[in-house]
Amino acid sequence: MGIPTLVAMLVAALAVIGVLSFREEYSLFVPGLLQGAVLTLQIAVLGSLLAVVMGVLAALARLYGPAPLRWLATVYVEIFRGTSALVQLFWLFFVLPQFGVTLDAFPVAVLALGLNVGAYGSEVVRGAIQSVPRGQWEASTALNMSRPQMLRRIILPQAFIAMIPPWGNLFIELLKSTALVSLITLSDLAFRAQQMNQTTLKTVPIFTLVLLMYLVMSLAITIVMRLLERRASLGLARGRAA
């Protein structure tokens, strides 16, 4: 879908939320859900930051690290990709305290989601680095650059562009996964929906609003990432193959 369509959908979703919030059976729920949405956003943003950091570190460790570090990064990636996000969340929430590490639900949520998505992200980063043509490495070698210089100045800036679309997808996955934190007592959007539903049984209005709010956040992420991609590839994409 093109950016205009996405923007149109975003505007439409916002408009529907706006219109609905003037109707009595909906307006009741709007303030509480918005509060939940704020928490959802906080977890999503912090989780995404952690995911990017972990993704880059794990990818670099797997590609260029010494053997023990490489091994550690591989174990991290395989475990977090191989088990499910909810299992990881519960493990950190219920099992860590038995090892004497007790964290609040909020840091556990950020940690679990960030580590989970970071594991997928490391594959994205790795793939993007490997997609930079060999000639770029060779030219940097011929200019006598050091490994870190090559990575920082030549390879990563180019890999960055290839990373934007898959990271966009991962950020959306992370946003959607934030709903899981409702199961460890955090009152995010999903938690509030569930709670309101139990007390009022007004399933349709509540869940319509909630789905629309998630949709708005997802669309916003998609649009921002598309714009970023377009900006980053300016002047670059056209003659790359020539």
Binding site: A139, T141, A142, Q158, L236, G239
Partner: protein, 259 residues
Amino acid sequence: MTDQPMVRFDNVSKRYGPLTVLDGLNLDIMRGEKVSVIGPSGSGKTTVLRMLMTLEKINDGVIWVEGEPLTHMERNGKLVPADLAHVRRVRGKIGMVFQSFNLFPHMTAMQNCIEAPVTVLGMKRAEAEARAAELLGMVGLSQKKDHYPSQLSGGQQQRVAIARALAMRPKIMLFDEVTSALDPELVGEVLQVIRQIGREHDLTMLMVTHQMGFAREFSDRVCFFYQGKICEQGPPAELFGAPKNERTRQFLNAVLEAG
């Protein structure tokens, strides 16, 4: 010390698995000498350049640059494989231009030319820019300094690549089939630049080329490679005018007929 070779390949071999690409190569290149390497594809000629640039590891022998080992270093009077610091110190004397340009697509022509001088040589930015502007002027691209590679023609990209390599002040320049990826009408402008730097800079030059006319006119010596060995070498007038070896004759005939 002037008669010490700038580059010496001492019994250098390169193998890929069972395939021997270069077989005991011995080749001396003197200071300021312009050497062309010709030969059929698969004869190992590009490998010679790539080994000297340290893009390929060698399996046997030693490569020397200005009397100093490149692939090895001396320790307790013995030659041991070089570590990265040693390689980087010696490799700094060498610059290379590639068939596929390999400009950095996310940097302008100017940025391409100052990147390594600033990060590797630690040059001041202003100084690097002044030098790059001079070099871009020499290759005729002063107007294009703020263009990205994607906005330049192949010939222009290759000229930027030449300026970029020269910006590192190498003593030795390697040209690896630098006109092969160009449309025919753009070949001339690149060869013109190479001619000019051959005249104006005190450089030792080693080039792999399919441009026989250029090799004949420009080089001091031509080496004909065949199946991983130097089959025949000599001044261009001799090698092109009266090749002694049957393989050389066959190759030159085939190339001349095609061209």
